[in-house]
């Protein structure tokens, strides 16, 4: 398989605090790659880094983002702008606040086509109507003229997906797109994303903390902990035989149907804050299998896992 995006040694800092500690991964053409982790693990920062949309307080300090033959970090701001929304599109967690309240849904989708492809307003709105139909918005003609506050959360996320797919991007970055939605709506949005992905062959970088979502949509997954990738592999192999103790705990935490437990499984303790990462393996204070070496020496990512214990077995 060909890599569409190659991320190498990506480091991001907020001031003096490093929140991404040299991330390496590839996104292959047409695949859905999930990044999984707790809040604060660095998964959203990773997603925003792909768009170079981190904001003023954060800075990409080193690394490269090779995307169809060029390094996104080398592009000028204007060149990067032409990549955004055209070659790489993004959808966000908060469908409530991600749309501008004073413009109609149709206009906000049409804007992408006007900006990147020089559509006239009329042609762009016509295309927007087709996109609304594609993402399963009922009465698309009328919904074009609806303002965000007139739409439900699920409808707004469909509008966001229509907006993202308007330019048929090569990569779709989805930052917890279903987290804020009701469970039934979540399932619909996931089904829509699968449909869109197979229709356009778009690669998807899917950020989530929900193992159920990973199982239903992703081909491969990365598990992040404290600004590092701790395990990577195909969804099947990781669900079947997770090697890193953290991945094992994460999977044990996800309750599944048909399995009645007296107590829900939890991971003891809290994810460490970026300005106080523990020495050695960053997970060792919470790890039940930690050996002496874990607190002394930081493990490296070897054959898909960053763990002294797993590596030795």
């Amino acid at each position: 398989m060909k890599a569409l995006l190659e991320v190498r040694d990506l480091r991001v800092s907020f001031g003096a605090t490093e929140v991404l500690d040299g991330i390496d991964f590839d996104v292959y053409e047409g695949e859905v790659l999930a990044i999984v982790g707790e809040s604060g693990s660095g998964k959203s920062v990773t997603a925003l880094s792909m768009m170079r949309l981190l904001g003023e307080s954060a800075e990409i300090t080193s690394g490269s983002l090779r995307f169809s033959g060029r390094d996104l970090l080398e592009l000028s701001e204007d060149e990067m702008r032409k990549v955004r929304g055209r070659e790489i599109a993004m959808i966000f967690q908060e469908p409530m606040s991600s749309l501008n309240p004073v413009y109609t849904a149709g206009f906000q989708v049409a804007e992408v086509l006007e900006e990147h492809f020089g559509y006239s307003r009329k042609a762009a709105l016509e295309k927007a109507r087709e996109l609304f139909e594609m993402v399963g918005i009922p009465a698309p003609e009328e919904r074009l003229r609806s303002y965000p506050h007139e739409l439900s959360g699920g409808m707004r996320q469909r509008v966001m997906i229509a907006m993202a797919m308007a330019s048929e991007p090569k990569l779709l970055v989805a930052d917890e797109p279903t987290t804020a939605l009701d469970v039934t709506i979540q399932a619909q949005i996931l089904a829509l994303m699968k449909d869109v992905r197979s229709r356009f062959g778009t690669s998807v970088l899917f950020i989530t903390h929900d193992m159920g979502v990973v199982a239903s949509i992703a081909d491969r997954m990365l598990v992040m902990y404290a600004g590092q990738i701790v395990e990577e592999g195909s969804v099947e192999s990781l669900f079947e035989s997770p090697r890193h103790p953290y991945t094992q705990r994460l999977l044990a935490c996800a309750p599944s149907i048909g399995e009645r437990k007296e107590r829900l499984s939890v991971i003891e303790g809290f994810a460490p804050s970026p300005d106080a990462y523990p020495g050695g393996c960053r997970f060792h204070p919470r790890c039940s299998e930690a050996i002496e070496r874990c607190s002394a020496e930081p493990p490296r990512l070897v054959r898909g896992v960053r763990c002294w214990v797993a590596e030795d077995s």
Partner: protein
């Protein structure tokens, strides 16, 4: 079907809103008439005696004037006739200019003060928004600090001090502009500058604050993720949303400009409503004072109404709910 009934409901809501607001304005004006009329009964001095001056011994003339001004009738009758007059736009007769209707006394000023305030508003809004946007886009830089310094300076210097300074600079030192008076465009420059500076400064500071707030919103991140050019992100997506809170402040500023003309007209000897009101107070020309108070009450009510209507235009979320 659903759409049509929604439209009809909206229309009904709009009518209800308009009716309520117009009724409210009428009520406010009625209260203002009661208050000004009531206050007039308690102010010291008999206007007719003042009007008579050295002819104060002339009993026959005094009686004739009292009849002409309606002051010989019972208070309730005077009030009813005054109220009736106000409804027809007739504010009675001036005390200072004997036998002249108040509305003729007001005519000159009415053509000056509201126009002056409106022109100042129309100029200060884009200037203020421009300055605020300039500063917000350069947040934390020297350009931002300098702009903010100038804006703070503009707010801190009192109007009359700035007036003396400007008159000294542009009328005395470098005689480009006339010192005072009214009638030529050159005579309007300094008064307008004096009205515009504080309004522009106020709008500028608010714009910067609101814009920095809006720029943190998720939909701004969405606009950037779409690959929109920066000026579209700023003007189309961010600034457009600051107009909603700004419109309230702009209404207040318009009110401030209308009363701000009082000071400016006095400084530059402009025959506007402001100088007229002040002269009328000193001359105990109460019918004129009352008329000016009522006019300003009407202006403020209309500004409030205007701002509320503007809200509906600017924010689709308010359109239906009001």
């Amino acid at each position: 079907m659903h759409h049509v009934s929604l439209r009809a409901a909206t229309l009904r809501a709009v009518w209800r809103f308009a009716f309520r607001r117009v009724f409210g304005i009428v009520l406010v004006l009625f209260v203002a008439v009661v208050l000004t009329f009531g206050a007039l009964q308690y102010v010291p001095g008999d206007p007719i005696l003042i009007l008579l001056g050295d002819q104060s011994g002339d009993v026959e003339l005094e009686a004739r004037l009292r009849a002409e001004y309606g002051l010989d009738r019972p208070l309730t009758e005077q009030f009813v006739s005054y109220l009736g007059g106000v409804l027809r736009g007739d504010f009675g007769l001036s005390f200072r200019f004997a036998s002249t209707p108040v509305k003729d006394v007001l005519a000159t000023g009415l053509a000056i003060s509201p126009v002056l305030a409106l022109v100042a508003l129309v100029l200060s809004v884009p200037l203020g928004i421009g300055l605020g946007t300039f500063a917000a886009r350069r947040k934390g830089t020297l350009a931002d600090s300098l702009t903010m310094f100038v804006l703070v300076l503009g707010i801190s210097i009192p109007n009359f001090a700035l007036a003396s300074f400007l008159v000294y600079l542009f009328a005395v030192r470098v005689p480009l502009l006339p010192v005072a008076g009214w009638g030529t465009p050159a005579q309007a420059v300094l008064p307008l500058v004096l009205l515009i500076v504080p309004a522009m400064v106020y709008i500028g500071r608010l714009t910067r604050t609101y814009l920095l707030e809006v720029l943190q919103e998720d939909y701004i991140r969405t606009a950037r993720a779409k690959g929109l050019r920066e000026h579209l992100v700023i003007y189309r997506h961010a600034l457009r949303n600051t107009l909603v809170p700004l419109s309230t402040s702009i209404g207040i500023i318009f009110g401030g400009l209308l009363s701000g003309t009082f000071v400016v007209e006095t400084i530059f000897n402009i025959p506007g409503l402001g100088s007229l009101a002040i002269q009328s107070v000193f001359a105990r020309d109460y019918p004129v004072v009352m008329a000016v108070v009522l006019l300003y009450t009407l202006f403020y009510s209309l500004i409030n109404l205007g701002v509320d209507l503007l809200y509906g235009v600017l924010d689709p979320r308010i359109r239906l709910s009001s």
